[in-house]
Symmetry: C2
Subunit: 361 residues, 2 copies
Amino acid sequence: MGQVATDQFPLQIWSSLVARHCRNMDSRSFHYGDQLGSQAFRETIARYLRTARSLRCEASQIMIVSGSQQALELSARVLLDRGSRVWIEEPGYWLAKAVFALAGCRVVPVPVDEEGLDVATGIKLCRRARAAFVTPSHQFPLGVSMSASRRFQLLDWAQSTGSWIIEDDYDSEYRYESLPIASLQGLDTNARVIYIGTFSKVLFPSLRLGYVVIPPDLVDRFIAIRGAMDICPPGFYQEVVTDFIGEGHFARHIRRMRVLYRERRSALVNSIDEELGNGVEVLGGEAGMHLTVALANGARDVEVAERASRQKLWTWPLSRCYAGQKPRQGFVLGYGSTAKADIPRSVRGLHDLLQGKRNSK
Amino acid sequence: MGQVATDQFPLQIWSSLVARHCRNMDSRSFHYGDQLGSQAFRETIARYLRTARSLRCEASQIMIVSGSQQALELSARVLLDRGSRVWIEEPGYWLAKAVFALAGCRVVPVPVDEEGLDVATGIKLCRRARAAFVTPSHQFPLGVSMSASRRFQLLDWAQSTGSWIIEDDYDSEYRYESLPIASLQGLDTNARVIYIGTFSKVLFPSLRLGYVVIPPDLVDRFIAIRGAMDICPPGFYQEVVTDFIGEGHFARHIRRMRVLYRERRSALVNSIDEELGNGVEVLGGEAGMHLTVALANGARDVEVAERASRQKLWTWPLSRCYAGQKPRQGFVLGYGSTAKADIPRSVRGLHDLLQGKRNSK
């Protein structure tokens, strides 16, 4: 899960950009940079987000970080205190939970249904939560895209209670069936949304580059805390990615990957139909680089995933994504780095494990 | 201050290493890496620290971070709680103070004399402090090198109270008069020392690479918190620097820079003697890339520094380095990026400002 098709990455183009920037390093590029990140990079990202994700943002609101994890960590440090209560999606992204725990916050798991986070239930459970963490484009791990009405409900709640919405827009670039829905940040008229994005999925994870779009009146607080945390982001790759985007390679790469991932996604869905049949339910196949297979209750996903890993078959147990009591059983299956041809065999392996058969690879 | 002689950096060699590694990127180098950092890089650093700084460490104790700031931040998250009391050097490094404040700790400023941190006074002020932050190689900003007896006193205190010592060994590579004294970590037999180092001064700041040497029994806690903070360090430059060190370029670069910085240091000291005369005291010229000029009381360093900056003359007011009441007046002057020929004019400019003269040019 979270692995990308690195063999498809335009390494030639990338290398030549890297070489060019390395040769042209000047005294400025050696020194500490702006705490927000490079101006040119932030302008490029702002343009991209305004057009591709209908954000309302200027470069001055964007802070470059090492990925969505640091973005989340920073947001927690700025917005939350020990004891603050935070809505998280149930099921949801475990590393978000980890950040809020680290910040001494009390997480309030709010159920996700076919429209996304159930805002009404969230309000019943804890109206006065300080913040809500959501993945509206492609909810992790169920893959729901939050409905427009839910988005407005969530924004209304944030406005009426003075709470914050932390929107992690991961996977928004890869949609296969529906058009992307406008981001919460783009719909927000009251500056209640902190928007988080990353290049880990659309370029590659070891790059460690992401960004936060910050409400204007919070920018100074983000800068102050970021300064104490790690001063500023590394300079070099910011320049490289700026040109990678500016020269059109980024858009081209995303278009190519969307086609590739759609194929792999279809191959996976078909194999699941054939091999696992009616026993299971496929969730969240409309976007991104992973989908979730929900099993009938009684299955033991952690146990099966553990056995699978011994056969080099990597799955993520769905039950691990639950903070509360009644976890659903299943697997989150990433297909980003799995060749189409290898998918049927892998699913068959999973089938055999579910049947309790020894897999004779 | 903190600026390095970037024009002296072996950019040719660096570029060819960067190009080589970029061409040779494989699927592993694209993906998330070890939370501690690359194994090869950590082994290289461990070897370097054992020989150059007489540390007792294995690669398994080393965590790659984005610089001493993140190292400090991580250490605070692992070792300290809200309300924990922490010794800091008075005067000291303001960004360390910022980290402890961010962690909700209460800092206890402990005076620094000609032997370094005054441990006895620290014990009088607050024996039960949870940790002490020190810069023993080249105390910031006074430039004292902590005496051996003080080092043992500090280690005894930490052992008897179960406290931690956070040793920031910045500037240890550049010594001009005395031989380096063994690091606290190397003298410590009770695993009470967290050792912090950075490549910002010996390579360049925008690289954002540093490391922490962690007592073995704390490694898992560092990993857990690091994982929630930013998952892992960026991959690429770790590989580049591994070869830069392994192929001998690093040692050669440090040797060359030591000669260059010594020249600039002497030029600065001479100009200060000529221009500022007896009115001032020069502190900490024995190591590093900056020294401190202490002024007679009554001078207003913040005001002068502010006026100087309007003439593109950058100084850091000594009084800003004090947490407590009676700050000494003076300037921290970095000479890393100032050509020898430009130093006299700059010092003259400072002299004129101290005299209250308008500086023409």
